[in-house]
Symmetry: C2
Subunit: 85 residues, 2 copies
Amino acid sequence: MKKFTVKVTVMLKKSVLDPQGAAVERALKAHGHHEPVSVRIGKVIELTLNGENAAAAEKKAAEWADSFLANPVMETFALSVEESE
Amino acid sequence: MKKFTVKVTVMLKKSVLDPQGAAVERALKAHGHHEPVSVRIGKVIELTLNGENAAAAEKKAAEWADSFLANPVMETFALSVEESE
């Protein structure tokens, strides 16, 4: 068994309003940055788990993400796996 | 000017307790997943901005992350840039 770190990045769907991102946009302007910039804020859930191989670790994380780490109605998620030392 | 998407991933430092991650660990157990897994939770701030090139966009994002998107006392951040269509 090896140890893997799976990063689950959960973002709101493009069609869903992101008030937290909008607040950061305003904060950037308030700090004197007037370039047009669009901000969306999401979560990273970093799971460190044991698995036979990267594919098995990713499969487990995908199952968890799909069943309760992300809300499929409003959010999408992406996975990235790396072996941890 | 091109458009770039810079992802700023903000995580609590390893030495800082992460109660949100601990809650997810307990939730995984409560859902019947008894494998040992360690969970840390962070934020992704996705900035879409204009820039001459990727390096310039990254520099701007790094400055913002350093000055107010992350709290350097408790958090670390990592950047990844890609050109958006």
